[in-house]
Protein backbone atom coordinates (compact mmCIF):
# COMPACT_ATOMS: atom_id res chain seq x y z
CA UNK A 1 0.00 0.00 0.00
CA UNK A 2 1.60 3.20 -1.15
CA UNK A 3 0.56 6.53 0.27
CA UNK A 4 2.22 9.87 -0.47
CA UNK A 5 5.50 8.25 -1.38
CA UNK A 6 5.79 6.18 1.82
CA UNK A 7 4.96 2.56 2.52
CA UNK A 8 2.48 2.09 5.34
CA UNK A 9 2.22 -1.34 6.89
CA UNK A 10 -1.35 -2.18 7.75
CA UNK A 11 -1.73 -3.63 11.23
CA UNK A 12 -3.81 -6.76 11.10
CA UNK A 13 -5.59 -7.85 14.27
CA UNK A 14 -8.02 -10.77 14.56
CA UNK A 15 -10.74 -8.51 15.98
CA UNK A 16 -10.97 -6.64 12.67
CA UNK A 17 -12.79 -9.56 11.12
CA UNK A 18 -14.62 -11.03 14.09
CA UNK A 19 -17.32 -8.40 14.72
CA UNK A 20 -19.39 -9.59 17.71
CA UNK A 21 -17.61 -12.91 18.05
CA UNK A 22 -16.39 -13.97 21.47
CA UNK A 23 -12.84 -13.01 22.36
CA UNK A 24 -10.38 -15.01 24.41
CA UNK A 25 -7.20 -13.50 25.87
CA UNK A 26 -4.80 -15.92 27.53
CA UNK A 27 -1.90 -14.73 29.69
CA UNK A 28 0.67 -17.51 30.02
CA UNK A 29 -1.06 -20.62 31.29
CA UNK A 30 -2.38 -18.88 34.40
CA UNK A 31 -5.08 -16.46 33.38
CA UNK A 32 -7.66 -16.23 30.62
CA UNK A 33 -10.25 -13.55 29.93
CA UNK A 34 -13.26 -14.69 27.97
CA UNK A 35 -15.61 -12.08 26.54
CA UNK A 36 -18.92 -13.02 24.99
CA UNK A 37 -19.60 -16.17 27.00
CA UNK A 38 -23.28 -17.11 27.34
CA UNK A 39 -23.35 -19.68 30.11
CA UNK A 40 -21.41 -22.34 31.97
CA UNK A 41 -22.08 -25.75 30.52
CA UNK A 42 -19.93 -27.80 32.81
CA UNK A 43 -18.00 -27.07 35.95
CA UNK A 44 -15.99 -29.45 38.11
CA UNK A 45 -12.60 -29.70 39.84
CA UNK A 46 -10.42 -29.67 36.74
CA UNK A 47 -12.69 -28.50 33.95
CA UNK A 48 -14.82 -25.45 33.06
CA UNK A 49 -16.80 -25.46 29.84
CA UNK A 50 -18.36 -22.20 28.58
CA UNK A 51 -20.91 -21.83 25.87
CA UNK A 52 -19.92 -19.08 23.42
CA UNK A 53 -22.80 -18.88 20.96
CA UNK A 54 -22.83 -21.86 18.63
CA UNK A 55 -19.62 -23.35 20.04
CA UNK A 56 -17.97 -24.10 23.38
CA UNK A 57 -14.60 -23.41 24.95
CA UNK A 58 -13.24 -25.75 27.58
CA UNK A 59 -10.49 -24.99 30.09
CA UNK A 60 -8.77 -27.96 31.71
CA UNK A 61 -6.22 -27.78 34.51
CA UNK A 62 -5.68 -27.52 38.25
CA UNK A 63 -6.97 -25.05 40.84
CA UNK A 64 -9.37 -23.45 38.40
CA UNK A 65 -11.11 -20.42 39.83
CA UNK A 66 -13.56 -18.06 38.15
CA UNK A 67 -12.25 -14.76 39.45
CA UNK A 68 -15.09 -12.77 37.94
CA UNK A 69 -18.27 -13.76 36.21
CA UNK A 70 -21.00 -11.52 34.86
CA UNK A 71 -22.06 -9.37 31.89
CA UNK A 72 -20.98 -12.01 29.31
CA UNK A 73 -17.50 -11.86 30.70
CA UNK A 74 -15.41 -14.30 32.73
CA UNK A 75 -11.90 -14.23 34.16
CA UNK A 76 -10.53 -17.71 34.74
CA UNK A 77 -7.40 -18.34 36.78
CA UNK A 78 -5.48 -21.50 37.53
CA UNK A 79 -2.92 -23.77 35.94
CA UNK A 80 -4.24 -24.53 32.46
CA UNK A 81 -3.19 -27.79 30.86
CA UNK A 82 -5.50 -27.59 27.87
CA UNK A 83 -7.88 -25.14 26.16
CA UNK A 84 -10.12 -26.71 23.59
CA UNK A 85 -12.99 -25.53 21.35
CA UNK A 86 -15.98 -27.61 20.41
Amino acid sequence: MKKSGKYVRKKITPSDNTGFSPQLTVTGNREAVLEGCREIKEYDDGKIKFSIGNMTVCFCGNNLVIKNYGNDYAVICGEFSDISFG
Partner: protein, 391 residues
Amino acid sequence: MIIKFLKYIIGFVTFKAWGGFSERFINLCEEEKISLWNIKNTNGEITASTSINGYKRLRSISKKTGMKMRTVKKCGLRFWLSKNRARSGLAVGAVVFMLILITLSQFAWRIEVVGNTEIEDEKILAVFEEYGIKAGAKISDLDLKTITEKALADMPDISWAKVNKKGSMLCIEIREKRKIPDIYDDSVPTNVVASEDGVILSSDVLCGTEEIKVGSAVRKGDLLISGIVTHRDGSEELLHADGIVRAQTKDTFEISKKNICLYSLTNYKKRYEIFFFGLKFPIGVAPDGDLISENASYLQSGDSVLPLGVIKTTGITFSENTVAPEEIQNLICLFKCSEHIKDLNETAEVKSSKISVSENNPDYSCAVYSTCEKNIAELKEIYTEKTMDKE
Protein backbone atom coordinates in the same frame (compact mmCIF):
# COMPACT_ATOMS: atom_id res chain seq x y z
CA MET B 1 -6.29 -2.37 45.58
CA ILE B 2 -8.98 0.32 45.15
CA ILE B 3 -11.55 -2.30 44.14
CA LYS B 4 -10.64 -4.41 47.19
CA PHE B 5 -11.04 -1.36 49.41
CA LEU B 6 -14.41 -0.50 47.86
CA LYS B 7 -15.56 -4.08 48.29
CA TYR B 8 -14.61 -3.88 51.95
CA ILE B 9 -16.51 -0.61 52.39
CA ILE B 10 -19.63 -1.95 50.68
CA GLY B 11 -19.29 -5.38 52.28
CA PHE B 12 -19.39 -8.87 50.86
CA VAL B 13 -20.27 -12.44 51.82
CA THR B 14 -18.34 -15.62 51.07
CA PHE B 15 -20.55 -18.67 50.92
CA LYS B 16 -20.58 -22.38 50.16
CA ALA B 17 -23.21 -24.11 48.00
CA TRP B 18 -23.53 -27.84 47.41
CA GLY B 19 -25.87 -30.61 46.49
CA GLY B 20 -27.63 -29.41 43.29
CA PHE B 21 -26.79 -28.16 39.83
CA SER B 22 -23.80 -25.88 40.29
CA GLU B 23 -23.60 -24.78 36.62
CA ARG B 24 -27.27 -23.80 36.58
CA PHE B 25 -26.83 -21.99 39.86
CA ILE B 26 -24.02 -19.83 38.42
CA ASN B 27 -25.90 -19.22 35.15
CA LEU B 28 -29.04 -18.13 37.00
CA CYS B 29 -26.94 -15.74 39.08
CA GLU B 30 -25.62 -14.22 35.88
CA GLU B 31 -29.18 -13.90 34.51
CA GLU B 32 -30.36 -12.22 37.71
CA LYS B 33 -27.37 -9.84 37.50
CA ILE B 34 -25.90 -11.08 40.77
CA SER B 35 -22.18 -10.66 40.49
CA LEU B 36 -20.08 -13.55 41.78
CA TRP B 37 -16.32 -13.62 42.15
CA ASN B 38 -13.66 -16.06 43.27
CA ILE B 39 -15.84 -19.03 42.28
CA LYS B 40 -14.12 -22.31 43.11
CA ASN B 41 -15.46 -25.81 42.69
CA THR B 42 -14.03 -28.51 44.95
CA ASN B 43 -15.67 -31.94 44.85
CA GLY B 44 -19.02 -30.52 43.75
CA GLU B 45 -19.01 -27.84 46.42
CA ILE B 46 -18.94 -24.25 45.19
CA THR B 47 -17.23 -21.50 47.16
CA ALA B 48 -17.85 -17.95 45.94
CA SER B 49 -18.20 -14.35 47.10
CA THR B 50 -21.01 -11.90 46.40
CA SER B 51 -22.36 -8.59 47.58
CA ILE B 52 -24.72 -8.33 50.57
CA ASN B 53 -27.74 -7.57 48.38
CA GLY B 54 -26.79 -10.35 45.99
CA TYR B 55 -26.54 -12.83 48.83
CA LYS B 56 -30.09 -12.03 49.92
CA ARG B 57 -31.36 -12.80 46.41
CA LEU B 58 -29.40 -16.05 46.19
CA ARG B 59 -31.87 -17.92 48.40
CA SER B 60 -34.51 -18.23 45.66
CA ILE B 61 -31.92 -19.35 43.10
CA SER B 62 -30.56 -22.01 45.44
CA LYS B 63 -34.07 -23.35 45.93
CA LYS B 64 -34.62 -23.50 42.16
CA THR B 65 -31.36 -25.36 41.57
CA GLY B 66 -31.69 -27.57 44.65
CA MET B 67 -28.53 -26.32 46.29
CA LYS B 68 -27.90 -25.87 49.96
CA MET B 69 -26.08 -22.74 51.06
CA ARG B 70 -24.01 -21.76 54.04
CA THR B 71 -22.25 -18.55 54.87
CA VAL B 72 -18.49 -18.95 55.30
CA LYS B 73 -17.38 -15.40 56.02
CA LYS B 74 -18.86 -11.93 56.24
CA CYS B 75 -16.50 -9.11 55.41
CA GLY B 76 -16.84 -5.35 55.30
CA LEU B 77 -17.27 -2.19 57.27
CA ARG B 78 -21.00 -2.77 57.72
CA PHE B 79 -20.45 -6.13 59.44
CA TRP B 80 -17.61 -4.72 61.50
CA LEU B 81 -19.78 -1.83 62.69
CA SER B 82 -22.73 -4.08 63.57
CA LYS B 83 -20.36 -6.44 65.39
CA ASN B 84 -18.90 -3.59 67.40
CA ARG B 85 -22.19 -1.79 67.96
CA ALA B 86 -21.75 -2.13 71.69
CA ARG B 87 -18.36 -0.45 71.39
CA SER B 88 -19.66 2.67 69.67
CA GLY B 89 -17.21 4.77 71.67
CA LEU B 90 -14.38 3.11 69.77
CA ALA B 91 -15.78 4.25 66.43
CA VAL B 92 -16.50 7.75 67.77
CA GLY B 93 -12.95 7.86 69.12
CA ALA B 94 -11.54 6.82 65.75
CA VAL B 95 -13.56 9.53 63.98
CA VAL B 96 -12.53 12.16 66.54
CA PHE B 97 -8.92 11.05 66.21
CA MET B 98 -9.06 11.38 62.43
CA LEU B 99 -10.66 14.82 62.73
CA ILE B 100 -7.99 15.98 65.17
CA LEU B 101 -5.27 14.56 62.94
CA ILE B 102 -6.65 16.32 59.85
CA THR B 103 -7.15 19.60 61.73
CA LEU B 104 -3.72 19.64 63.36
CA SER B 105 -1.94 18.72 60.13
CA GLN B 106 -3.16 22.02 58.67
CA PHE B 107 -1.02 24.02 61.11
CA ALA B 108 2.71 24.66 61.21
CA TRP B 109 4.10 22.71 64.13
CA ARG B 110 7.66 23.83 63.86
CA ILE B 111 9.70 26.48 62.04
CA GLU B 112 13.25 25.58 61.14
CA VAL B 113 15.96 27.89 59.82
CA VAL B 114 18.61 26.42 57.54
CA GLY B 115 21.64 27.97 55.83
CA ASN B 116 22.53 30.80 58.21
CA THR B 117 26.04 31.09 59.60
CA GLU B 118 26.31 34.67 60.85
CA ILE B 119 22.72 35.75 61.49
CA GLU B 120 21.05 34.18 64.50
CA ASP B 121 17.98 31.95 64.13
CA GLU B 122 15.99 34.12 66.54
CA LYS B 123 16.55 37.22 64.43
CA ILE B 124 15.33 35.50 61.26
CA LEU B 125 12.37 33.91 63.03
CA ALA B 126 11.37 37.28 64.50
CA VAL B 127 11.24 38.86 61.02
CA PHE B 128 9.21 36.00 59.57
CA GLU B 129 6.92 36.01 62.61
CA GLU B 130 5.94 39.59 61.82
CA TYR B 131 4.46 38.33 58.57
CA GLY B 132 2.68 35.36 60.14
CA ILE B 133 5.16 32.51 59.87
CA LYS B 134 5.21 31.10 63.37
CA ALA B 135 4.43 27.87 65.18
CA GLY B 136 0.68 27.37 65.14
CA ALA B 137 -0.02 29.36 61.96
CA LYS B 138 -2.42 27.83 59.46
CA ILE B 139 -0.27 26.83 56.49
CA SER B 140 -3.00 27.26 53.86
CA ASP B 141 -3.51 30.90 54.91
CA LEU B 142 0.13 31.80 54.34
CA ASP B 143 1.23 33.30 51.05
CA LEU B 144 4.78 32.03 51.35
CA LYS B 145 6.08 33.78 48.22
CA THR B 146 4.89 37.24 49.27
CA ILE B 147 6.02 36.74 52.87
CA THR B 148 9.48 35.70 51.70
CA GLU B 149 9.77 38.78 49.50
CA LYS B 150 8.73 41.07 52.37
CA ALA B 151 11.10 39.38 54.82
CA LEU B 152 13.96 39.64 52.33
CA ALA B 153 13.35 43.38 52.05
CA ASP B 154 13.61 43.65 55.85
CA MET B 155 16.87 41.72 56.07
CA PRO B 156 19.58 43.34 53.94
CA ASP B 157 22.17 40.76 55.02
CA ILE B 158 20.31 37.96 53.29
CA SER B 159 20.63 37.45 49.56
CA TRP B 160 18.10 34.65 49.05
CA ALA B 161 15.37 33.01 51.07
CA LYS B 162 12.74 30.35 50.51
CA VAL B 163 10.13 28.85 52.77
CA ASN B 164 9.49 25.16 52.12
CA LYS B 165 6.67 23.05 53.46
CA LYS B 166 7.76 19.70 54.91
CA GLY B 167 4.58 18.10 56.16
CA SER B 168 3.58 20.15 59.17
CA MET B 169 6.97 21.83 59.40
CA LEU B 170 8.05 25.03 57.66
CA CYS B 171 11.69 25.20 56.69
CA ILE B 172 13.17 28.64 56.04
CA GLU B 173 16.18 28.24 53.79
CA ILE B 174 18.39 31.29 53.51
CA ARG B 175 21.66 32.38 51.94
CA GLU B 176 23.61 35.17 53.56
CA LYS B 177 25.29 37.93 51.61
CA ARG B 178 29.04 37.73 51.30
CA LYS B 179 30.66 40.67 53.01
CA ILE B 180 32.91 42.87 50.88
CA PRO B 181 36.41 42.70 52.34
CA ASP B 182 37.90 45.96 53.65
CA ILE B 183 40.22 47.39 51.05
CA TYR B 184 43.46 48.62 52.50
CA ASP B 185 43.83 52.15 51.23
CA ASP B 186 47.53 52.90 50.88
CA SER B 187 47.10 55.91 48.61
CA VAL B 188 46.69 58.34 51.54
CA PRO B 189 50.06 59.64 52.82
CA THR B 190 50.46 58.87 56.53
CA ASN B 191 52.93 59.04 59.40
CA VAL B 192 53.16 56.44 62.14
CA VAL B 193 52.93 57.95 65.62
CA ALA B 194 52.99 56.48 69.13
CA SER B 195 49.56 55.66 70.54
CA GLU B 196 50.90 55.83 74.12
CA ASP B 197 54.03 56.38 76.21
CA GLY B 198 56.63 53.61 76.29
CA VAL B 199 60.13 52.33 75.65
CA ILE B 200 60.77 50.97 72.17
CA LEU B 201 61.61 47.27 72.08
CA SER B 202 61.57 46.58 68.35
CA SER B 203 60.45 48.21 65.14
CA ASP B 204 59.52 46.67 61.84
CA VAL B 205 59.16 49.30 59.14
CA LEU B 206 56.96 48.24 56.25
CA CYS B 207 57.04 51.58 54.45
CA GLY B 208 58.52 55.00 55.30
CA THR B 209 61.58 56.32 57.17
CA GLU B 210 62.31 55.07 60.69
CA GLU B 211 62.56 57.97 63.15
CA ILE B 212 63.25 56.10 66.41
CA LYS B 213 65.84 53.74 67.81
CA VAL B 214 65.39 50.61 69.90
CA GLY B 215 65.67 51.48 73.59
CA SER B 216 64.52 55.05 73.20
CA ALA B 217 61.59 56.39 75.17
CA VAL B 218 58.65 57.91 73.37
CA ARG B 219 55.62 59.86 74.44
CA LYS B 220 52.11 59.61 73.07
CA GLY B 221 51.95 61.31 69.64
CA ASP B 222 55.71 61.14 68.92
CA LEU B 223 56.67 60.39 65.31
CA LEU B 224 57.83 56.79 64.92
CA ILE B 225 57.91 56.26 61.16
CA SER B 226 57.81 59.21 58.77
CA GLY B 227 55.81 59.15 55.57
CA ILE B 228 58.02 61.80 53.96
CA VAL B 229 60.92 60.17 52.12
CA THR B 230 63.80 62.24 50.78
CA HIS B 231 65.52 60.84 47.71
CA ARG B 232 69.21 61.22 46.81
CA ASP B 233 68.45 63.98 44.35
CA GLY B 234 66.85 66.01 47.15
CA SER B 235 63.29 65.45 46.00
CA GLU B 236 60.70 64.44 48.57
CA GLU B 237 57.91 61.96 48.26
CA LEU B 238 54.88 61.40 50.43
CA LEU B 239 54.22 57.76 51.24
CA HIS B 240 51.72 55.72 53.20
CA ALA B 241 54.06 54.87 56.08
CA ASP B 242 53.31 51.71 57.99
CA GLY B 243 55.01 49.38 60.41
CA ILE B 244 54.90 47.49 63.69
CA VAL B 245 56.57 49.19 66.66
CA ARG B 246 56.58 47.17 69.86
CA ALA B 247 57.13 49.02 73.10
CA GLN B 248 57.05 48.41 76.81
CA THR B 249 54.18 50.37 78.30
CA LYS B 250 52.73 50.87 81.73
CA ASP B 251 49.06 50.57 82.60
CA THR B 252 47.37 51.77 85.74
CA PHE B 253 43.84 50.96 86.85
CA GLU B 254 42.27 52.21 90.06
CA ILE B 255 38.95 51.51 91.65
CA SER B 256 37.40 52.56 94.97
CA LYS B 257 34.33 51.54 96.90
CA LYS B 258 32.69 54.79 95.89
CA ASN B 259 32.49 53.58 92.30
CA ILE B 260 30.76 50.34 93.24
CA CYS B 261 27.03 50.30 93.50
CA LEU B 262 25.38 47.25 95.00
CA TYR B 263 21.80 46.19 94.47
CA SER B 264 19.72 43.76 96.42
CA LEU B 265 16.74 41.74 95.25
CA THR B 266 13.56 43.13 96.77
CA ASN B 267 10.82 41.48 94.78
CA TYR B 268 10.60 38.30 92.73
CA LYS B 269 7.47 37.39 90.78
CA LYS B 270 6.82 34.64 88.31
CA ARG B 271 4.03 33.63 86.00
CA TYR B 272 3.44 30.56 83.88
CA GLU B 273 1.82 30.51 80.44
CA ILE B 274 0.67 27.47 78.52
CA PHE B 275 1.79 27.66 74.91
CA PHE B 276 -0.44 25.81 72.47
CA PHE B 277 0.02 26.32 68.71
CA GLY B 278 1.05 29.95 68.96
CA LEU B 279 -1.62 30.75 71.54
CA LYS B 280 -0.58 31.67 75.05
CA PHE B 281 -2.86 30.95 77.99
CA PRO B 282 -1.60 32.89 81.04
CA ILE B 283 -1.97 31.51 84.53
CA GLY B 284 -1.84 34.52 86.83
CA VAL B 285 -0.97 38.21 86.55
CA ALA B 286 1.92 39.46 84.42
CA PRO B 287 4.96 40.17 86.59
CA ASP B 288 6.60 43.61 86.64
CA GLY B 289 10.05 44.65 87.74
CA ASP B 290 13.42 46.02 86.69
CA LEU B 291 14.43 42.82 84.95
CA ILE B 292 11.86 40.71 83.14
CA SER B 293 13.05 37.43 81.68
CA GLU B 294 11.24 34.71 79.78
CA ASN B 295 12.14 31.03 79.80
CA ALA B 296 10.25 28.64 77.56
CA SER B 297 10.34 24.86 77.61
CA TYR B 298 8.66 23.00 74.77
CA LEU B 299 7.57 19.41 74.38
CA GLN B 300 9.98 17.43 72.23
CA SER B 301 9.56 14.33 70.10
CA GLY B 302 13.02 13.14 69.14
CA ASP B 303 14.72 16.13 67.51
CA SER B 304 11.42 17.84 66.76
CA VAL B 305 10.21 20.61 69.00
CA LEU B 306 6.43 20.59 69.27
CA PRO B 307 4.38 23.80 69.58
CA LEU B 308 3.23 22.79 73.05
CA GLY B 309 4.97 23.98 76.15
CA VAL B 310 5.19 26.15 79.20
CA ILE B 311 6.60 29.68 79.29
CA LYS B 312 7.88 31.01 82.59
CA THR B 313 8.08 34.81 82.92
CA THR B 314 10.09 36.18 85.81
CA GLY B 315 10.04 39.75 87.05
CA ILE B 316 12.79 40.88 89.44
CA THR B 317 12.85 44.23 91.25
CA PHE B 318 16.15 45.59 92.61
CA SER B 319 16.93 48.37 95.06
CA GLU B 320 20.24 50.05 95.93
CA ASN B 321 21.93 48.38 98.86
CA THR B 322 23.64 50.83 101.13
CA VAL B 323 24.21 48.50 104.02
CA ALA B 324 26.13 45.75 102.23
CA PRO B 325 28.96 44.19 104.27
CA GLU B 326 32.35 45.76 103.68
CA GLU B 327 33.93 42.42 102.87
CA ILE B 328 31.67 42.03 99.87
CA GLN B 329 32.52 45.52 98.60
CA ASN B 330 36.23 44.83 99.01
CA LEU B 331 35.91 41.55 97.18
CA ILE B 332 34.12 43.27 94.30
CA CYS B 333 36.97 45.79 94.07
CA LEU B 334 39.46 42.94 93.73
CA PHE B 335 37.26 41.17 91.25
CA LYS B 336 37.08 44.31 89.08
CA CYS B 337 40.90 44.52 89.15
CA SER B 338 41.32 40.94 87.99
CA GLU B 339 38.76 41.54 85.24
CA HIS B 340 40.78 44.53 84.07
CA ILE B 341 43.95 42.39 83.79
CA LYS B 342 41.99 39.88 81.76
CA ASP B 343 40.78 42.61 79.40
CA LEU B 344 44.30 44.01 79.12
CA ASN B 345 45.62 40.63 78.07
CA GLU B 346 43.42 40.74 75.00
CA THR B 347 45.07 43.87 73.59
CA ALA B 348 48.61 43.55 74.92
CA GLU B 349 51.07 41.04 76.32
CA VAL B 350 51.05 41.61 80.08
CA LYS B 351 54.54 40.98 81.45
CA SER B 352 53.87 41.76 85.10
CA SER B 353 51.00 43.04 87.24
CA LYS B 354 50.92 44.32 90.77
CA ILE B 355 47.74 44.87 92.75
CA SER B 356 48.00 47.43 95.50
CA VAL B 357 45.33 47.76 98.20
CA SER B 358 45.09 50.76 100.46
CA GLU B 359 43.11 49.60 103.45
CA ASN B 360 43.91 52.67 105.54
CA ASN B 361 41.79 54.76 103.30
CA PRO B 362 38.18 54.85 104.57
CA ASP B 363 37.17 54.50 100.92
CA TYR B 364 38.75 51.16 100.29
CA SER B 365 40.61 51.35 96.97
CA CYS B 366 42.46 48.99 94.70
CA ALA B 367 45.02 49.74 92.02
CA VAL B 368 46.62 47.54 89.36
CA TYR B 369 50.02 48.48 87.92
CA SER B 370 50.89 46.44 84.85
CA THR B 371 53.86 46.33 82.52
CA CYS B 372 52.89 45.33 79.02
CA GLU B 373 54.36 44.82 75.60
CA LYS B 374 52.29 46.01 72.70
CA ASN B 375 52.29 47.53 69.25
CA ILE B 376 52.01 51.30 69.74
CA ALA B 377 52.10 52.19 66.04
CA GLU B 378 49.16 54.42 65.04
CA LEU B 379 48.59 55.80 61.56
CA LYS B 380 48.14 59.55 61.27
CA GLU B 381 47.21 61.12 57.96
CA ILE B 382 49.47 63.78 56.49
CA TYR B 383 47.20 66.59 55.37
CA THR B 384 48.07 67.81 51.89
CA GLU B 385 46.52 70.33 49.60
CA LYS B 386 46.09 69.60 45.93
CA THR B 387 47.29 72.45 43.70
CA MET B 388 46.56 72.85 39.98
CA ASP B 389 49.66 73.41 37.87
CA LYS B 390 49.32 76.50 35.71
CA GLU B 391 50.37 75.87 32.17
